[in-house]
């Protein structure tokens, strides 16, 4: 640039005091004191937080009034009757199935989940795994029965109502 010298203009900043403790300092301190279990807990918290599960859970906690009222509103809407009925029908259906059939279904599902975790280490079991689980032919045949049942229920009650004046 042109013109005058700027002897007095300075921009170098030197940190004089170490005022903040870094998170790894904190980890070190904590693990020294409480050992392995603390580290594990931290890892779990981290995994929960990375996966977004923590924020979902904390949001539900912080905001449970709102979420709850929305859920209630949704469920109490007359037009949701079918859905509620379907859900309870599925539940009833499941509870009536022989226990060994349900448990093998659940085991399969659990296997799938752990497999999902192995295939994507560090990645939480997300809806993706649920999706592939559902697309698995063994599982989907089971699902089809359920869905078919739901379909039956949907048809039964016919069209939704509208207010007329």
């Amino acid at each position: 640039m042109g013109g005058t010298e700027m002897s007095e203009s300075i921009s170098r900043v030197i940190e004089e005091e170490k005022s903040t403790v870094t998170s790894s300092d904190a980890m070190e301190f904590m693990s020294g004191k409480y050992g392995r279990s603390m580290i594990e807990l931290m890892q779990v918290v981290k995994a929960l937080s990375d996966s977004g599960i923590l924020s979902i859970a904390s949001s539900l906690l912080e905001n449970y009034q709102d979420a709850l009222s929305t859920i209630t509103e949704e469920l109490s809407d007359g037009r949701m009757e079918n859905f509620i009925r379907n859900v309870s029908a599925v539940y009833t259906l499941l509870s009536r199935l022989p226990p060994e059939m349900v448990s093998s279904f659940m085991e399969n599902a659990a296997d799938e989940m752990t497999k999902g975790n192995r295939e994507h280490p560090g990645k939480p079991m997300g809806l993706l795994s649920l999706n592939s689980l559902i697309k698995d032919p063994d599982v989907s045949s089971g699902m089809r029965i359920l869905i078919g049942t739901m379909k039956g229920f949907t048809r039964k009650t016919g069209d939704h109502k509208h207010d007329q004046d």
């Binding site: 700027m6 203009s9 005091e17 905001n63 559902i134």
Partner: protein
């Protein structure tokens, strides 16, 4: 009874309304029917058919159907609902509903809500993708054609609200879509990134990039996963229906409330005072959403207010106090820093007196902070040496208004500018410096036959649009304004009744106009006599006129006089005190108006009470238990000369980048280094701060509470969006810490308490209170005790003891002009994308991409004469400094006039060249009087300084509205209303 009240029978119930359309009448009375393409600031578009009702048995769009007396309206019968469902189903053909993973699922998605409210459970026309890729070329927002429901809101906003005229819907395509210019990628178009279109898009087709992946709980998942989830849900949908899916997304949307905060704030850039909600998740800024109830701007913003907030979380923010130690700063605790500030200032006061210290309040800070800064200077240091940046821009305009009408502020509101018959814009590049005010002028000019006269050196956008464009010789506006005024009087076209009843000193003034003949004006200004006559005739032909001006007028030695001549012309023609009339000096910074209003002025106490007024002074002295000098202090421009002559020994500067925005950068640097003690309080280590002894880290607007006052005198609250970064603190807290350290018992717990004190001491703020300013509410001063404010001034009297306006005779004093050595005139000012020197805006990567550097605009004639090519590097030299910059050859400038924007990311800013010349009354630097010489620097590879993605290269396609008739003409459009397509 009110004539405009009409009665309707709606679903068997009687309803009275003043509204002009049925939809508005229904919305007003709480009858909610779908209306996806309707948005109140845009008006009816009529593209979506979801608002269908029966009117006297006939099917009609309620958004366009005018209210006439005694209509019978049916909004609820089965066949009406079925029509609304059919319309919504048609829309779903163009939109993939995946609400739970959609960034727009925040409770305000018009489509989601319509599907939910109509209880649509099965999609009649399955979604079919459009054969176009997502366009994410623009740095700030994305267009996803697949999600676009062709409602046309964005087009209406771009064509007729922003009036940038970039967008249209190409209805001739097999699958229509929104197109930019002639169907080019967004970043290659004329789009100025104002964000209007994104703000109004009812779905997620236009989306801020800052929202993507952040808005919802599931929106951050990988694209592939998201797609599979969507597929899965779609597979299930025909079986389970849409309702359960909608239910889940409603729950997720409600959950978002816990992590997305929406806080009302006011833009911290220009003086238009746009307000909006800012959406944040922690410190992440998700988006800026202007609201229909935003009083100054409605849904409007410009690129800076909508997308220019990255500076808030910049890693360059100051987070700790700094103390100079030899060749570096060291960080310090607040305790140590405040003690050092108090000691340093007290030492200077003891040795040289309080008048040896200059206090500069920030024009970007709040009113309350400005009030406290002047209180610190007056109460604690016993000096009137306090000022703010209005000295650098608008003080001459204020002087012109004080001389003639009494109040130093816009005499009406932005709505008056919009409704006026004629706008004269003098020395204001409104579309770039006050973009949202420009939108109102452009819209009124395009749609309402408003006339526009522009006087400027450059053929900028407003000049291009003008009915009459005047290009006077630099610094000669006073002459043409006076000549036109004289011509009007000579023709007997003056408003005789107004002059006789509401003004004084007309005769003297009339005589003073004698030299300003048309011949003289033509000689001095270079504007032809015929043109001047047509200006006079245009003024004579309208019943209301507003004059807008800015720094092209004020930053001259004759800035105050030219501002006065503008006010004289308005008085002669009776254009004050009526809707659609008045004087509008467009204020530069967000709070340059408020900083002055609240007393950071060397000659005025808060509320424009003169320091020489014994009564006013006494009131403050009693409240503050101190003695205030009766004579004005030193202002923030002449204090530089004050340093040179040893009178000013110390400065306390808040937020003003004096070094690069004051005139003559090199000289200012030299002077700052002579100070005994310099304190700078800023969000960044500015060029000014680099000279300081102590630097205090300041919070930015989003990190504190307070009020700003915009150019219309409108006081608006800002709310705290997030905590200050690091250990930064709000200016008001820091000033209070300094006062306390010096033994003064200040105990403000919240800015509202400071406002209470200001209101108590200043009649023009008597009725201002935080209770009246909740949310988007605002008050325009003067506000009387009962809280009545003043959107329009001077309706019955002017602000003088006799209530009459005063004509003010003037003489013309020529500016500094070019000579044989410094043979080129270098005009300078703002660019749309940056604010001022760019201290904040350069920290937005997108803005930096659009305008990375400064440059000098030269005319094709000059380029040819000097054998200079676009992108060449040149050295510009004035009598006061020299710098290097790149050339942009453009027809915006002509002949030997050049233009250099004031933004600069490095150390080659325009003010290296400017002089210490100033307006003798207001002491505003004559930035615009700048003769320079130019030489090409040989051997440097050309580099065009304005990237090809800058909107100035675009090709807008003006049209009115969305051209919905073209949709109706399409073969695949089945009319739903009774009278065919429209």
């Amino acid at each position: 009874m009110n004539d405009s009240l009409k009665t309707l029978m709606v679903n068997g119930t009687r309803l009275t309304t003043e509204r002009t359309t049925i939809l508005e009448a229904l919305i007003d009375s709480g009858i909610d029917i779908p209306h996806i393409c309707f948005q109140p600031n845009l008006g009816a578009i009529g593209s979506c058919d979801t608002c269908l009702v029966k009117v006297d048995g006939r099917v009609a769009r309620s958004c366009t159907e005018p209210v006439k007396g005694e209509m019978i309206i049916d909004t609820r019968s089965r066949d009406v609902i079925d029509l609304q469902i059919e319309a919504t189903n048609r829309i779903l053909h163009n939109h993939d509903m995946y609400c739970t993973v959609c960034e727009n699922n925040n409770g305000d998605c018009a489509l989601h809500n319509t599907v939910h409210d109509l209880g649509i459970d099965q999609q009649k026309y399955p979604f079919e993708p459009k054969p176009y890729p997502v366009d994410d070329s623009n740095p700030f927002y994305v267009y996803d054609p697949n999600q676009c429901i062709l409602c046309g809101r964005c087009v209406e906003a771009c064509q007729d609200v922003e009036v940038n005229e970039t967008l249209s819907i190409d209805w001739t395509l097999d699958r229509p879509r929104v197109v930019w210019d002639n169907n080019v990628p967004i970043n290659d178009s004329s789009c100025v990134s104002c964000g209007h279109c994104v703000t109004v898009c009812p779905v997620n087709a236009l989306m801020e990039k800052t929202m993507i992946g952040k808005a919802g709980f599931f929106t951050g998942i990988r694209e592939k996963t998201k797609k599979r989830m969507i597929d899965l849900v779609k597979d299930l949908e025909p079986t389970v229906g849409m309702k359960p899916v909608m239910a889940i997304s409603n729950v997720e949307s409600a959950m978002r409330k816990s992590q997305i905060r929406k806080t009302k704030t006011v833009c911290t850039y220009c003086g238009v005072g746009c307000s909006f909600e800012i959406w944040t998740k922690g410190r992440d800024i998700l988006k800026v959403q202007p609201m229909p109830e935003s009083p100054a701007n409605g849904i409007s913003t410009c690129i800076k207010g909508k997308f220019g907030w990255d500076f808030v979380n910049s890693s360059d923010r100051l987070t700790k106090p700094l103390i100079r130690e030899g060749d570096h700063f060291r960080t310090a605790s607040w305790d140590e820093a405040i003690k050092a500030v108090a000691n340093g200032l007290s030492n200077v006061k003891e040795k040289y007196g309080g008048d040896a210290i200059e206090f500069i309040a920030s024009s970007k800070g709040t009113n309350e902070e400005s009030f406290l800064m002047q209180k610190l200077s007056r109460q604690v240091f016993g000096t009137n040496n306090v000022d703010n940046s209005s000295r650098f821009c608008q003080a001459p305009a204020t002087t012109g208004l004080w001389r003639t009408v009494g109040y130093g502020g816009d005499s009406g509101s932005i709505s008056d500018i919009y409704r006026s018959d004629l706008i004269i814009a003098v020395g204001t590049n409104t579309a770039e410096s006050h973009p949202v005010i420009a939108t109102r002028v452009k819209r009124a000019h395009k749609l309402n036959h408003q006339k526009l006269i522009v006087s400027d050196l450059r053929k900028h956008e407003m000049a291009e649009r003008a009915d009459i464009f005047l290009h006077p010789n630099p610094g000669t506006d006073l002459v043409w304004l006076s000549a036109v005024t004289k011509y009007i009087i000579d023709q007997g076209w003056e408003d005789k009744k107004f002059i006789a009843g509401r003004t004084t000193d007309f005769e003297n003034y009339r005589k003073s106009l004698e030299p300003f003949t048309l011949d003289y004006a033509e000689r001095v200004t270079g504007i032809g006599k015929d043109t001047l006559v047509s200006v006079a005739e245009t003024i004579h032909g309208v019943s209301s006129m507003c004059i807008l001006w800015a720094m092209g007028v004020t930053q001259h030695q004759a800035g105050s006089d030219t501002s006065t001549s503008i006010s004289n012309l308005l008085l002669v023609t009776g254009n004050y005190g009526r809707p659609g009339t008045g004087a509008y000096p467009l204020r530069g910074h967000n709070n340059v108006q408020g900083a002055s209003d609240f007393g950071a002025m060397n000659a005025y106490l808060p509320g424009y009470q003169k320091v020489s007024d014994d009564n006013a002074r006494r009131r403050f002295e009693e409240e503050w238990k101190c003695k205030i000098p009766a004579s004005p202090g030193v202002d923030n421009n002449t204090c530089i000369e004050g340093i040179a002559n040893g009178k000013i020994r110390s400065m306390y500067i808040i937020g003003e980048e004096l070094v690069t925005t004051g005139s003559s950068t090199n000289y200012i640097r030299e002077m700052l280094d002579k100070l005994d003690f310099l304190v700078v309080q800023d969000a960044f280590l500015s060029e000014t701060a680099k000279h300081a002894d102590i630097v205090l880290p300041a919070a930015v607007s989003l990190e504190k509470e307070g009020t700003f006052t915009n150019t219309e005198r409108r006081i608006q609250r800002i709310y705290k969006v997030m905590d200050p970064v690091g250990n930064a603190k709000a200016d008001w807290e820091i000033i209070q810490m300094v006062a306390k350290q010096l033994g003064y018992d200040w105990n403000y717990r919240h800015p509202s308490e400071i406002m209470q004190e200001a209101a108590r001491l200043s009649p023009i703020f008597a009725g201002v209170s935080y209770d009246k300013l909740v949310g988007f509410s605002s008050q325009q001063w003067p506000v009387d005790q009962d809280g009545r404010d003043a959107p329009l001034l001077y309706e019955s009297e002017f602000h003088f003891p006799d209530g009459k306006a005063r004509f003010y005779p003037l003489e013309y004093h020529p500016p500094l002009v070019v000579d044989s050595e410094y043979d080129l005139h270098l005009n300078n000012g703002r660019l749309l994308e940056h604010f001022h020197e760019g201290n904040e805006t350069y920290r937005s990567p997108g803005i930096r991409e659009k305008v990375p550097n400064t440059f000098v605009e030269i005319s094709p004639e000059l380029a040819k004469e000097r054998l200079i090519e676009n992108g060449d590097e040149v050295r510009l030299t004035s009598r006061w400094g020299h710098l290097k910059t790149r050339v942009l050859v453009t027809e915006r400038v002509t002949g030997r006039e050049m233009y250099m924007p004031m933004n600069d990311p490095g150390e080659e800013g325009i003010n290296i060249l400017t002089s210490r010349l100033m307006d003798p009354t207001a002491h505003t630097p004559a930035y615009k009087e700048l003769p320079v010489k130019m030489e090409k620097i040989a051997g440097v590879k050309p580099h065009i300084p304005l990237p090809i993605t800058n909107p100035r290269y675009g090709h807008p396609r003006p049209q009115v509205g969305v051209k919905i008739e073209e949709k109706w003409k399409r073969k695949d459009y089945q009319p739903m209303v009774s009278d065919g397509g429209n």
